[in-house]
Subunit: 513 residues, 2 copies
Amino acid sequence: MSLDKTFPSYIEGYGTVKPYAGPFATAPSAHRYGPKLSSSKPGDSKIVSNLEAALEKSGIRDGMTISFHHHLRNGDYIVNMVMDKIAEMGIKDITICASSLTNAHEPLIEHIRNGVVTGLHTSGLRGKIGKAQATENILGKPVVFRTHGGRARAIEAGEIKIDIAFIGASACDPMGNMNGVEGKSAFGSMGYPMVDAQYADKVVVITDNICPFPLSKIAIPMQYVDYIIEVESIGDTALIATGATRVTKNPTDLLIAKRAAEVLVASGYIKEGYSFQAGSGGASLAVCKYLKDYMTEHQIVGSFAAGGVTGYLVELLEQGYFKALLDTQTFDVMAVDSIRDNTNHIEMSASMYANPHNKACSAHQLDVMILSATEIDTQFNINSLTGSTGLIMGALGGAPDTAAGAKLTVVVAPTMRKRIPIVVDKVTNIVTPGDTVDVLVTERGISVNPKRQDIQNMLDQAGIKTLSIEDHLKLVEKFTGKPDHISYTDEIVGVVEYRDGTVIDLIYKVKTT
Amino acid sequence: MSLDKTFPSYIEGYGTVKPYAGPFATAPSAHRYGPKLSSSKPGDSKIVSNLEAALEKSGIRDGMTISFHHHLRNGDYIVNMVMDKIAEMGIKDITICASSLTNAHEPLIEHIRNGVVTGLHTSGLRGKIGKAQATENILGKPVVFRTHGGRARAIEAGEIKIDIAFIGASACDPMGNMNGVEGKSAFGSMGYPMVDAQYADKVVVITDNICPFPLSKIAIPMQYVDYIIEVESIGDTALIATGATRVTKNPTDLLIAKRAAEVLVASGYIKEGYSFQAGSGGASLAVCKYLKDYMTEHQIVGSFAAGGVTGYLVELLEQGYFKALLDTQTFDVMAVDSIRDNTNHIEMSASMYANPHNKACSAHQLDVMILSATEIDTQFNINSLTGSTGLIMGALGGAPDTAAGAKLTVVVAPTMRKRIPIVVDKVTNIVTPGDTVDVLVTERGISVNPKRQDIQNMLDQAGIKTLSIEDHLKLVEKFTGKPDHISYTDEIVGVVEYRDGTVIDLIYKVKTT
């Protein structure tokens, strides 16, 4: 199914546009990218005295693409450390390929304004940079937004070639064997840079914990690493578990979560060996709280839970509710301890997690996916990237990946936040296409995507009341009225790629008065 | 340093010859190979009912290159199972790229004679096939011999492209996550096929133990796997630990090992944090028996021991003599238990082990390497592949890799076996070049490579008597006489590649009367 959107066939600063044609309509025909071959000799030393030396040895120069990972989230020191040094060295025209960017990366705005950074590929963008790009096009070209699976895919396919990957490691030996689970700055899974390390031409590890060779827990092995620098600290791990990663205490969210759990049970998917993932935020994580009671009562053990992993999922693993956790990104200290010590808490790369163009990914093994949303429209399309003002203030994350993969995708969201409607006629931007979304649960009701008549029937049989998405919208509009239309210029400031590399939406510059 | 050998610039059935130019003289300039991209969908099933179906789905056809790994050694069922089926299907002209071949694979000879198999790339070849190739050129073109590191390098560089990789797994989940450490046929590390899986266009897993998804110990992840078939048994693990992997009880070998240990100590390399590897066979493994006493006495703890891992090395790990084991190939049941349960027993790919053309390998981190030899000559060149009769009856293994990497490479060998001299004027074929070999220890004496005057001085200071390699040879020739020269035809039946892809020697067809 394609969307009723038209895109130009070519976008300056992006390239040729392949339009979205359905969740599994676009298959690859090419070969994987092969990075440059290297060589090593006995006695080689990879430890470099400082960042500038590592940059020089890696051949940093104008126009390069460099990559980062966001496992340290709001506590990350790596991006700013590297970009400040690159700016100081007088390098310009850098494209950043980040797994995501957080509020910690706001200082990038100066590097963008100064021409040090002229390209951004990321899963998310927020705060000042998101606003400035949406209203001013400060990059002068579109930001490319990719899902976690889509980023792995694009790197593996050579659609984005990383000249230098910067990897923060909480433990690294002198030859570059590294992990994220040991040391004072342990952050857990290294899911994202596992891909970067394999495909980047040069790899620089930044660590605050050089350990004796050989490191025994190896997330990324030494054969991918060029240089290592030791710094005082790679980040503030206290800031990893913020915002989106806590289980809600909000009564509305809890109500929604409870109803969502009822929907899941009624749909028949909560049975022995089922698999489960919940996105971050709001009611999403709270759903498993309610599922737990049902699993206890019916003596159900799930196979795996996946995704960004929190302490709450760890408890479910330890208590025997799930047999395994699959983890690309670890969200709190309890989960870091678990991935280090529990052999059933499995570290996986972003490619293994969600890349549609390899031979399997965990997203495609999911039974149930719980998503949150900034907006959802009457086609069940989800927006989690832009606000109703048109500003860029969110992320794609793994939502489009897991929605496509899961047998049942349920969106949990309140109908409005601060009188801004979440259920809308048309989402500001499409991030997760409606043909991969099955049910919406809000505090005001439950709507089933008409293409899932099977689910509708199950809910009807269980006596669960539903309403059409259109009626859902009308209920909301009673309170919020119809939202104002945003006025845009014709300047494209963001390209939203679907996980398969097609373009699912464009973000235009907002007209400011 | 190059060798005084001349090679044709092009060899039919092999290709262009780049001659060996020194252990680190030849660096790569190209890119890694990128195999074909794939895609997966929810609900995909990889389990195929039988081998024939897996072969058909993988697109098997005449002229393809397929790969195998030899972790099950003499107990391996996989190669014969697959090749018998391919023959039955009427497929011809297959090139086999095996990490090595053992006596278990003698049935291949019929497939070669029948034109099913027309190309062989392997580390070793023995028995009937080795004899038939050396005397009859049954393939009609040269066998390509590669080191363990060289094979990984050639695959990664795309010099050999694997159409279908066959991987025996002792545990595999329905999506292809696999290991070699669980199940009735557990054999340990999956070091070799880790490389094949990443670079082959199609990957077929053959297992006798399908486990629930997700397998928690993952040696090779699902994103590389196309098809899975379940069979009664992948091999007889009782036959893994045969021949070359036992510590010797032979008094001559023990004497040699004791002297070698004295050389190591006198050379100053046995100190806190040193690393150690011993090849399989004869006196080689026995050396660490003697080192252990010295380490105890001087309270020395080594960093890592590596290579093919035996129970003896596991004991040293467990007793605290070494902090870690790095394992590409596991040689006995005790070592299998260890790699499964001991987090300091680390599984590594053949590329991480010994590929000279990546950014680090464990072979290059070695302090001490102990090698055995079939022949060693006055240039310290080692032959471990062909006999003095010219027959092919051995393997390259990791010897050329580790000899190049280690700070000190010591050859331990008796001067003769059954009156056949081991110390010779010129080795029948060069496998490990003399410029990477430092000391020879036999039951009759110790010779130091003249280029290692530093070692010579250390031994002199320690009062260890040495003799020149030429005198060593004279001693031997007193007993054995000068060996007969072999008469060869001008037909090339084997190409011996050095680890960097250059040609270090050619094996010619032996003239038979």
